[in-house]
Structures are given as structure tokens and as C-alpha cells.
Amino acid sequence: MMRRLSLGTAIVAVAALGAVPAVAQSPSAPAPVTIRFGTLNAPFVDPVNKLLVDNFKATHPGSDVQIEYITGDTAASYATQAAAGTLPDVLFTADLYVKPFAQGNITMDMEPLAAADPTFNMSDLYENMLGLSKVDGKGLYMIPSSYDVVTMYYNKTMFEAAGAPLPQADWTWDQFIAACQTIKEKTGNYCISGRDTPKPGGDYQWWADYVPWIDGYGGKLISDDGKTALLNSPEVIAAMEAYTALWTKYDIAQPLDFDPGGECFMVGKCATLLFIPGYMSAMRALDPQPFEWDVQGIPSHPQGRFTGMGTYGFAISADTKNPQAAWDFVKFLDSQPAQKAIADAYAGIPMLKSMAGDPPLPGPPNNIGAFVTNGANGILPTNFPGNCGSLYAGLINQEIKDAMGAVIAKTSSVTDAFTTANDNIQACLDKG
């Protein structure tokens, strides 16, 4: 999953990543080639960019890499380039883009290249992460970068100062909410950060935040045959009542208009942050550390423990004239040296099952294993058929976002808001 990280300081260990040895390639040196590499210029990606570029140049003597940073919206940039026939050879991508990019002929299926490459061991990748790279269970449209599961970062200092119990692995949301209320009462701080994205202030519209609640209450957004929207089902209504209550009843989630001048958890105004492993590097880079912090698994809902998962990665463009060279470039991301380098930089959790037994890195966080154990609770975003959009963009996203926004702004009840959203989505599904 790709989310913009609001970071005050640079990521660590660029030098460490640059010292990673290259993966052994076939004995005969490939012909020199220039690869165009489209990627983000963001602190959590920069070390990975350098890793890939350095390895490619080392294994392809005489070859060059032209880095082209994406400006503006990723999907819109690539769509425009695809229309103009100027896509780079290698593209930054993320789980939310896998299906639309594949269907839009922006990325190519890398599975034939992977199958023909004895150095690439697909079976060593965690199946749930590999699933993010497939479209309808097929193909390989992304080389994933990290085992990204939404896990709880918590401000240990704030919890202890408020006399609230520290988050535990077997906690329920009720226990977590009670602790948050204690923190709010004793310190005046909010409990759940909005991550400072998409705008400064609280956030509610990321699918990884609310879909786990729906699963946790036994609900679904759409029927299994993809024909019936279920936003107004009793289970979804109950889930959304409970989710939006974090703002409307308990007032423990960062309000939408509360802008503390930075990401709320990092600036010490929110007790927890539900986010991906890559954020560790941003927190560790703070010198001195503003407070003691650690990580813990997501609390449990009535019907189980669920959390969102996803990852960013890289893909080969459908337009490339150098598919083999592009494959050599991207596959390195899922090699042991690269995954170790990403882990050592606290920029992610290794994607490879063979690295599960590696000794844990020194803290903070001390409970880094929570990222992996929490993976057992990971769920993927709901897919919607047809042209009604997805949980990321389009009508589906707009209707759910508007419904939740109305509830949190207290201009509508959950039932009314989600019934309206359901009706609008159903009308689109009926159009086919």
C-alpha cells in the first residue's frame, strides 16, 4: 500500500543500503542498455530506488538508468504517459494500482519472465502479499517491496503518564477505547492519529481503517456474486456505527480539522498511529527520540481480529522495449540482500518466508515481531466489478467517503448516510 508519509526527517541508512552486494547474474554480461525508471521521490522509497539502480549498474556493466520522478497523482501521470506512449520501462506501483494498471495496459504480466528465471523464487514470497500482485488471482503485475500490514504504533510515554494500561496483543477494541478515554481525560490528547494525509488533520477514508471493522462485525460491502451492494445491511451499519463512534461518541480519533502542525503521533499529540512498517524509519530518525514508543497488533473486533495489508512495489510497463533488462532491474527487490537492506533500514518487513527466522533488529520498536504476527489478521481491499470504481477511487470511494463524512460531521445518521450510498452504488452496479 502506498500512503504519503508526513515525515519531518530523512530516512536512515542510505549508505548501508548502498553497500548491499549485487545479486549474482548469469555468467555472460548482458548487452548495455538504458532503463527508464519511473518512481517516487519520497523518503521511504529513496533508499529502495538507490538499491535497485546500484544493483542494476553493477550487474549490467555499461548500462544506465534514467530516473524519472512522478509529479502529481501517480495514476494520472502514468495514464497520461500511457496515452502518449511514453511510459518508462519500470514503474513505481502499489497494491491499489495493480488492477487498474493491468486493465489499462499500463503494466505487463511478469509471470512468464519470473517462471523462466531460475534465480527468482516466487514460492519464497508470502502468499498474501503475492496475492496483491495478481489480478483476479492471476499473473504477476507487481514485485512487492515489503510485508506491509497495518499495525499499531503507540506512545508508551503517554500511556504511562496517563496511567492507562499499555496495548496488549490480545486486546479488544473496547479495551483499547477505554484506555484511550483515560488518555483523553488525563492528558487532553487524542488517541488515533489521522496520519496527516490526504490533508492535515484526521482521516477516516482509507479502506485499511474501516474495512477491518466491517469484517469484524461480520459484514461485507458487496455480495459474493458482485451484484448486490450491502452497505445498508445490519452488519455494515453496526460496524460503521462503531467505527464512526471513535469521533462522534468517544472523541478519541483525531478530528478532521485538528492540525497539530505535523503528523499527530510524531508530534506527540496522538497516542497511537495505525500504519505500515516503513514508518519505523521516520520515527527512528528523530534525534533525540521525543518519547518512548513501541508497536502492537490491532485490537480485536466482535467477530475477530482484522487489519488492512498491502504494499508498494515496482512493475514493468506494457510499452517497454527492454522487458528482460527491466525484469533484471525489478526482481532484485525481492532478493535476500535487498530485503535485508530494507529491513536493516527499518523501511519495511521482509517479504521472504526464508527470512522469518532472522534475528530481530534492535529497538525501538522492541516488539517488531508484531508486524509479522499481525500479518495473520491481514485482509485485502474489497473488489467491485464493473465500472463503478473501487475503494480507492471512483463512485464507490466517493459514496463511502461522503457517507462517513456526513456521519462524522453529524449531518446524517449512519443508517441514512449508508442507505443513500448503498442505493447509489447499487444503481451503478445495475447499469453493469
Partner: protein, 307 residues
Amino acid sequence: MATSRPAARRFDRAFWRRTIRGYLFISPVVLGLIIWTFGPMVASLYFSLTDYKIVSPPVFTGLDNFSDLFTHDRLFIQSLWVTVRYTVLFVVLVQLVSLPLAMLLTQKVRGISVFRTLFYLPVVVPVVATALLWRYLMNKDYGPIDAALKFFGLPAVNWLGSPDMALVSLVIISVWGAALFTIIYVAALQHIPEQLHEAARIDGANAWQQFRFVTIPLLTPAIFFCLVTSVILSFQFFIPAFVMTGGGPANSTYVYNLNLYDKAFKWLEMGYASAMAWVLFIIIFIVTLVIFRTQRLWVHNDGGVRG
């Protein structure tokens, strides 16, 4: 005599030389207009009649986009209504603020040019920078405006977080940055002959009567221009809403152009967004036409002749 034919020929050559030279001089502008203005407009008109998702070729669908806009898109009406409310608030407020300000800026006061410069500065500040600055100023928890209100014992205002206040806040920011109209009024006020005010004074008119019966009628061309321009600008409002509120809270600032932007660049529905752009063009055209038609009733051109 035979000299008329050679003279005509010489005249024709000179005429055509001048004509060609003239066209050559204006050709960069004309080419620019064709390539970068009219060309994209024609392309946009075509795309509005297609299902065009950028990554695949456009498929002709006729008027489906326009029909969906009016029958299936609740956000179309909602965003248009937000834009109309913004327009009414902005146009009224900007006229009420600009004209008195212009009158102050035409006073014979030492250093008046410094005041005029200071009031005009917001116009030259980039809009995004302005939006980011005002987002900080209007922060209800840490912003200086609410801090000042609390200092004076007044309740803090949730400027950007309240569905009732957010649009008003954006209007305030826009009016702050609309000194362009003030300058137009300053220029118009300076063009009113002093003799007319003198004559009114001699006839016994007080300050208010001079303003009402001399200044305002002679300002009507400027008011007309500012009215039309402010209406057009307000229908195109986008950047502050995009930067500061994203259309929230609860879509209370979800203006038409934000909706258009989302359809084009988030939903990648370029054909649909093109249709929205043409609908906006037609709306602005009709509103402007209506205002133009009314000018004969209230606009005094030079010489006091109406319309």
C-alpha cells in the same frame, strides 16, 4: 494617361506587403491561440461526446455524458449548488469591500501610493501560498485568529472544520485576495471629473447625495466590469478549496471544479469531465449574457447615455 495602372499596381504591392507584415506580426499570438486554446477546446468538445479513460481510445457515445450528468450524478447538482452559493457570497462581498476601499485609496493622503501597494500585494502572492498561509491562520486549535478571539473573550470559530463556516471562510480568503477590483475602482474614481462634484456641491448636494447621484452612476461601467469578471472568476474557483479543505467538511466546499478535477484525474473519466467543462462554459456564458442584457437598464456610459 497611362500612369494610373502602374500606380495601382504599386499601391497593391504596398498594400499586400503591409497586410502580410501585419499578419506575420500577429501570427505568433494567433498560432498560440489555435494550438493551445482553440485546439484543446475542440478536442475537449469531441471528448465530451465520448467515453474516454485516457488509457484506451475514446469511444463515441453521443450525449450520454451530458445525460448522465443531469440524471445520475448527485454530485453535479451538489457541487454546482456549492459553487452558486460561493458565487453569490463572493460577488456581493467583493463589491461591498472593494468600492469603499477604493474610495479610501483615492483620498489625498500622504503616502497613499504605499497604501495602494500594500492592498494590492495579496494579488501577486501565489494562490497556493495564500491558501497554505490561511490554513494556518484559521487553524482552530493553534491558529492566531482564534487565539486572538479567545484573548478578547470571544468564542473560537471553527473556520475550516464546520460545514456551516467552511465555505464562508473560503469566501473571506478570496475577498482578501481580490484587490484587483479595488484597483479598477480606484482608476474609475479617478476618471470622474471633479467639476461634476463641484457642480453638485453648488446645487446643494451633500456628500451622500454626491456619491449616490454623481459617483455611482459614473462608476456603473466599472461596476459592470467587476460584476462580470467576479462572476466568471467565482465559477472557476478551485485552488483554495483543493488545498485547504479538499471539498469538506461533508462536501460543504465541494465546488464544481473540484468535482471536475476528481472526475478527470482521480476517476480518469476524461470524457465525462470534458462534458462537465462544457456545461460550466455554457452556464457562465448564459449568466454573463443575462448580465450584459441588463446593462442597458443601469449602466451609464460616457456622456450619460444609458446602455
